[in-house]
């Protein structure tokens, strides 16, 4: 990215002043090195977001930002319905409420070693992953509606978890305002037998080891200690969310002129929040969020079943569950005034700090856990929402390492088998049905996750708590 176009506010904050049709500035959080390595398209896309009606304060890009469609991945923007603000299907993305859930095991690496191979094999056989995989649950119309309204709560009622799990999920495992009527038959059909499936691409289930602690007090409160084994599940709303995205992107793009909206990029397809279309999308998108929460709950159940076979005494409590691709109605203070805003986070994590209303009681004193996914060969991180600057980017942080090479470029550089073998030498087991898929997801295709985490920490978006290294990775 051309740094000369940006004003440096601090070592990790960069600003593009409004020009042309931009209504607000664009603010990018990253180190100089990360900014320099970012695709120019990130700046173009975040500047386009800043042109949308009703945008408040600024359009933000997180340290892991990379070229997406419409919004950059790692983009955050809030809109005020009282000022003609919009809701954008492109600002949420196809994989509605894609997110990460982390489970605590209470195990240490030494506990895992004697059965690591068998555990990896059993996880890969039990967790449906990749194109063509199906779950064991087939939903009829009535159960589909219940799931779309009930989220993880529905899954727990069906026996896929424990009531206390819900206390460790954003929104208590269920977002209100879901509209089953707004979800098309096509979306329902795509989801009928996809509950409890991981998907493919960058989705994974990873067994990880805590290798470093940066904040002892918060780590202890989260139940983390050096050497601990945790399980992280990264997936979303599967076919239902994909089809909702498909349906509404088309409809919003075609309806934009009728709403008086000039789109700087067709992919920013949106509608006024207070329009019939905007409200319908909001209802469908919330149903998609509940679907993702239910999906991660069922995968939690399957994971617990596998671990119970090897370690009957452990219960795998949920540390927390965060969503990345959402639009949520939240109250924020902007220029000294409290306002109800619709905050889009596309490839970004909500990062509420200590004391913030809406936090589960378990995290009221610490702030919420924020999970930063690495790659199958590089560190992931657990961070915590920062209380020092509570309105920083509408209390948001990054969500992962972020890609630096396209799938195309990755395929030219690596072979899947070579990566699996190299990682095995480092003690990391990869299970995937596709070696090409492994090559496309090569660790080298991603940015340095440690640099992304450091930038988020220094920028005050979230604070470092623990570093994790992969031990077993199940890919779709």
């Amino acid at each position: 990215m051309d740094l000369s176009r940006l004003q440096r506010i601090s070592p990790t904050e960069w600003r593009l002043e409004p020009h042309d049709a931009m209504r607000v500035p664009a603010v990018l959080y990253a180190s100089e090195k990360l900014i320099a390595e970012m695709d120019d398209k990130v700046l173009e896309q975040i500047a386009n977001v800043a042109c949308l009606p009703g945008i408040v304060d600024a359009a933000y890009a997180m340290p892991d930002a990379h070229w997406g469609y419409g919004f950059p991945i790692g983009g955050v923007a809030a809109f005020d319905p009282d000022e003609g603000g919009i809701i954008s299907a492109g600002g949420v993305g196809f994989d509605i409420s894609c997110g990460v859930r982390t489970l605590l095991t209470g195990l240490k690496r030494a506990d895992l070693e004697p059965c690591k191979e068998e555990l990896a094999h059993s996880l890969s056989r039990t967790i449906p992953a990749g194109l063509g995989s199906t779950g064991r649950i087939v939903l009829d119309e009535i159960e589909m509606d219940r799931m779309l309204v009930g989220g993880a709560g529905w899954a727990v009622e069906q026996g896929y978890g424990r009531a206390e799990d819900l206390d460790h999920i954003e929104e208590g495992g269920r977002i209100s305002g879901a509209s089953t009527d707004a979800v098309s038959q096509r979306a329902r059909h795509r989801q009928r037998d996809e509950m409890g499936t991981l998907g493919s691409g960058n989705h994974y289930l990873e067994v990880q080891q805590v290798t470093a602690i940066s904040d002892n007090a918060v780590a202890t409160s989260f139940g983390l200690a050096p050497g601990d084994i945790v399980v992280s599940i990264h997936c979303g709303s599967r076919g239902l969310g994909h089809q909702i995205g498909t349906d509404f992107l088309r409809e919003m793009a075609l309806a934009a002129p009728a709403h008086g909206i000039t789109l700087p990029d067709l992919e920013l397809a949106c509608a006024p929040i207070r329009s019939e279309l905007g409200q319908r999308y909001l209802g469908a998108m919330r149903a998609g969020i509940n679907c993702a929460l239910a999906n991660r709950q069922i995968i939690t159940y399957l994971t617990r079943r596998v671990f119970a076979h090897f370690f009957p005494e452990i219960t795998l409590p949920v540390l927390f569950d965060v969503s990345h691709n959402t639009c949520k109605e939240e109250e924020h203070e902007v220029a000294g005034k409290r306002r109800r805003l619709f905050v889009h986070r596309k490839g970004a994590t909500r990062a509420f700090g200590a004391g913030r209303p809406g936090l589960p009681p378990a995290f009221a004193a610490t702030g919420q856990p924020v999970f930063i996914g690495g790659s199958m060969g590089t560190m992931s991180a657990i961070m915590v929402g920062a209380a020092e600057r509570p309105e920083h980017a509408f209390a948001s942080s990054c969500h992962g390492a972020g890609r630096q090479l396209s799938r195309h470029q990755a395929l030219r550089q690596w072979h899947g088998r070579q990566i699996v073998d190299e990682l095995r030498k480092r003690g990391i087991i990869i299970k995937s049905p596709s070696m090409r898929g492994v090559a496309e997801e090569a660790p080298g295709a991603y940015k340095d996750s440690a640099a992304v985490v450091e930038a988020a920490h220094l920028a005050g978006l979230s604070r470092k708590v623990a570093a994790l290294e992969p031990v077993i990775c199940i890919k779709g």
Binding site: Y69, G132, S200, G239, L249, R403, P433, S434, G437
Partner: protein
Amino acid sequence: MAPASIEPRAELFAHGADIGVRGVGPTCAAAFEQAALALTMAVTDPARIAAQTQTAITCEAPNDEFLLLDWLNALIYEMAVRRLVFGRFAVAIDEHRLRGRAWGEPIDRARHAPAVEPKGATLTALKVELNDKGAWLAQCVVDV
């Protein structure tokens, strides 16, 4: 009359975390067929796919770009709900109405080793155009 020298071809192009699919052909319909083939190439090797089943698809859209979007999304839908992969396509376009057929087989995870799961065709880099050499091009980015 389409120029005879334009060889139909399917190709992928780079886009961040996702994949661009592009079809080129002597007619708009041929470019749509090749774009569909490129969609399959994002997932697996089309040469490994047997033509066991035939699926009929019809779409109608306000313009060629949205017609391409609808065509690819209809294929993605069929792949998802019927667990199919397609290796051969035939398309006829009349104004902005498309009648298409896709031949393929149920996905075999061992033999096809699918690399990614297409989520949806996006409006990014969406283009249907006739270039100055007489070739039709149909392309967009697919979220995977």
